[in-house]
């Protein structure tokens, strides 16, 4: 058993114009998607998280409770909170995250007046450029 790396972070990391409990959940979802947290890993206790992020303990409690309801984690009385997620559920949140990132990108591009075709071309360009950068790094 190991603790996931760098959970919590700083109070400054939160966007104060959005509900904080939502951002705590998103942070954990990202860690799960990236594989930084895996099945059976113990996560910080609510108190530890609140102290580390300098956040209201009730807010952290709400985030943890929702994560339990979403079947991402499970709390074992007296032992702590552990990652407990079915592979289908992980795939679901992975798709959901990807969807919201792409949708945000597309809607911003549309708001700037780009057509779907232009967006597609540019996206392709970005992907090609990214690939070149990676190849350059290897050289």
């Amino acid at each position: 058993m190991h603790y996931g790396k760098d959970i919590g972070g700083d109070a400054m990391d939160f966007d104060l114009a959005r509900p904080i409990y939502q951002q705590i959940i998103d942070e954990y979802k990202k860690k799960l998607i990236r594989g930084e947290l895996r099945q059976g890993d113990k996560i910080l206790s609510q108190r530890e998280y609140a102290e580390k992020a300098r956040t209201n303990p009730n807010t952290v409690q709400r985030a943890y409770r929702e994560m339990e309801n979403m079947k991402l984690v499970e709390t074992v009385r007296g032992q702590g909170t552990f990652v407990c997620i079915a592979p289908e559920q992980l795939e679901l949140i992975r798709n959901e995250m990807a969807g919201s990132v792409i949708e945000l990108c597309v809607s911003e591009m549309k708001a700037l007046g780009f057509t779907e075709q232009e967006i597609r071309v540019r996206l392709e360009q970005v992907l090609v450029n990214a690939k070149e950068v990676i190849t350059d790094d290897r050289v």
């Binding site: 939160f14 104060l16 102290e51 209201n56």
Partner: protein, 231 residues
């Protein structure tokens, strides 16, 4: 639970509070926000029973604060400690008054805050004095903790330490904390509920997360908007 029902309070010709209705829920951390002269300190003093309302009533778990036996720890904005005392002497002074003093916690907090209780209060820095005030309040296991401008004039590292102390010792469900401050950004993430006061009136009150959700703004921005609308 603490309730203000139509509370007004004047000091001479100055109206400090004007027909104010507020509910401070049990088990929550409430931020009492507003500019200087908004009525924040007056509100806290009414809860402690140090002041009486001219009109309306303040109820502490359904009773008049003056008759209530409920334990309240109060951190006043002013420097109220005797300068000739050491921290230890001040602690023993406070512990003689209040049955909810927790000696174990005192030692723990002293270490966490990096204070040496042989130090004389008149000789320590402003930040250390602020920490001492906090130490003496939070060592008590009181149901209510009232903090009047606990961060004002304190350096950033000490502020973070004070905030961490509050989180560390907060007993969810049973303890209620009210923090008055005009520096909201510092404690945005710390509060469950907010009350915005302006010239003796409540401009806005509500759940911090819900306000962020509904308005897509930080509490600082929400307060600015509420005050703009009021003027």
């Amino acid at each position: 639970m603490i309730e203000f029902k139509g509370v007004s309070k004047n000091f001479g010709r100055t109206r400090a509070l004007d027909a104010v209705d507020i509910t401070f829920a049990t088990g929550k951390i409430t931020g009492l926000f507003g500019p200087n002269g908004a009525g924040k300190s007056t509100s806290l003093k009414l809860i402690t029973g140090l002041n009486r309302p001219d009109r309306g009533e303040v109820l502490l778990d359904g009773r008049n604060p003056m008759d209530s036996k409920v334990d309240i720890a109060y951190l006043p904005e002013i420097d109220h400690l005797y300068p000739w005392m050491t921290i230890r002497q001040a602690a023993s002074f406070v512990s003689d008054f209040y049955g909810d003093w927790d000696g174990e916690r005192y030692k723990d907090l002293l270490g966490f805050l990096g204070l040496d209780d042989e130090m004389k209060i008149g000789k320590i820095s402003k930040g250390q004095r602020a920490k001492t005030k906090l130490l003496l309040c939070t060592t008590r296991r009181s149901r209510y903790l009232l903090l009047d401008e606990p961060l004002s004039g304190i350096d950033i590292l000490t502020r973070e330490q004070i905030i961490q102390t509050l989180i560390r010792d907060f007993r969810e469900g049973e303890q209620s904390i009210i923090i008055s401050t005009h520096e909201i950004s510092e404690i945005e993430g710390l509060v469950d509920e907010v009350v915005f006061l302006d010239r003796g009136r409540v401009r806005l009150q509500g759940d911090a997360e819900q306000l962020r959700e509904e308005r897509g703004m930080s509490l600082v921005e929400i307060m600015k908007e509420a005050f703009r609308d009021a003027n």
